[in-house]
């Protein structure tokens, strides 16, 4: 990812990626966010709280796939808190 794209990423996307990275690492955090945004037709740089529900659901499934249900729930909870 180039620097400009990284800078233009909105605060919410950054926060999601940060929470994800703490749980599954940088590489998977990016991959999970990118893939789920693509699947849901969301521009990752334009994520807004109203688009968060389906995204969070998918992210939770991804984290469950890569780690565990517990980690997925913890991540989802932190993301919800971040949205509020």
């Amino acid at each position: 990812m180039n620097v400009l794209a990284e800078e233009s990423m909105n605060v919410l996307a950054k926060e999601i990626e940060k929470i994800l990275a703490e749980a599954v690492g940088d590489f998977l955090a990016k991959a999970i966010l990118n893939k789920n945004c693509t699947l849901l037709g969301i521009n990752r740089d334009l994520i807004t709280p109203d688009k968060m529900s389906p995204l969070l659901q998918n992210i939770q499934r991804s984290v469950t796939f890569f780690d565990s249900e517990e980690t997925a729930q913890s991540v989802a909870a932190r993301m919800l808190a971040a949205v509020k």
Binding site: M1, N2, V3, K30, A31, K35, T38, S53, Q60, L80
Partner: protein
Amino acid sequence: MKRIVGTEMKRLMLAVTLAVLLLLVAIISYFLIDVLVTSYNNTQDNKELMIAQSVRTVDNMGANIEKMTTDWEFIELFNIDYIQRALAGDMKSLYGMIVRLTVGIQPVDYVAVIAGGQIVDYRAKDGMTIDKASMLVTPPEDGYQTLDRLGDREGFFISCFYSVPLSRYGFEDLYLNIVVDRTSELQAIEGYFQRERNNMLTGLLIAGGIAILLSILVTTFGLRFLVEKYIVKPIEQLNRTAEQISQGSFEGEVHVDEKSAFAALQGLLKSGQVIMRLHDREIAKKPGPGSSEPGKDVG
């Protein structure tokens, strides 16, 4: 994509350039010292050769003088008065004849007749002032010595002693001290080797300068090209593939070259690609009836 190996490459190029420069400087220094030492040794060898030849020449002169002053075949050619005076015990006439003969017909700059440890007669080339007290009266260990001054003249002189055994004729034994000027010969030898040395040093410095410039060019551009081709590009390719896999935009298969130094990383990326595909398939499935809404199970 931002190049992440720039710093490493700069350091590598700097290290290789410095190593090559150091090697070149060491080689050039070795040859510089070799030229200086060889030139000095050649000068000394030729100087010693010139001295040895001069000593031989002076010995021959001494032998000629001895023959002229002791062999009747030659003596009878001279003024008989001198001979009679010498035979009557007037040795000064004999000494005078010897010094005049020597300086007059031999290419010498100074001659002294030494009898009983004293200079009994001497003569120098016209225009040369000699203080006889400053001259040796006994032969040096090697039979000769080099002087950097003769009378009022500075230069390079070879002073030889030649024994004239006159006791067999009833006279006192003599020494001839003959000094020849070899300043111009020494200057020629030193000048020749100095020119040779300067030419070699100039050539060596020019060649060294060109070698240093070429090495900088080769290490700067050549090494940069090779490192880019064989190290930077494969790493950039791996980085690009990793970015594309994480973004979900990678298409095709990650190729693993078992002979490559990056085979392990390529294998890791391939595994990542497989896992991401499994993940994508899993996520693409509709959520099951038992799956929880985000946030509902939390808090």
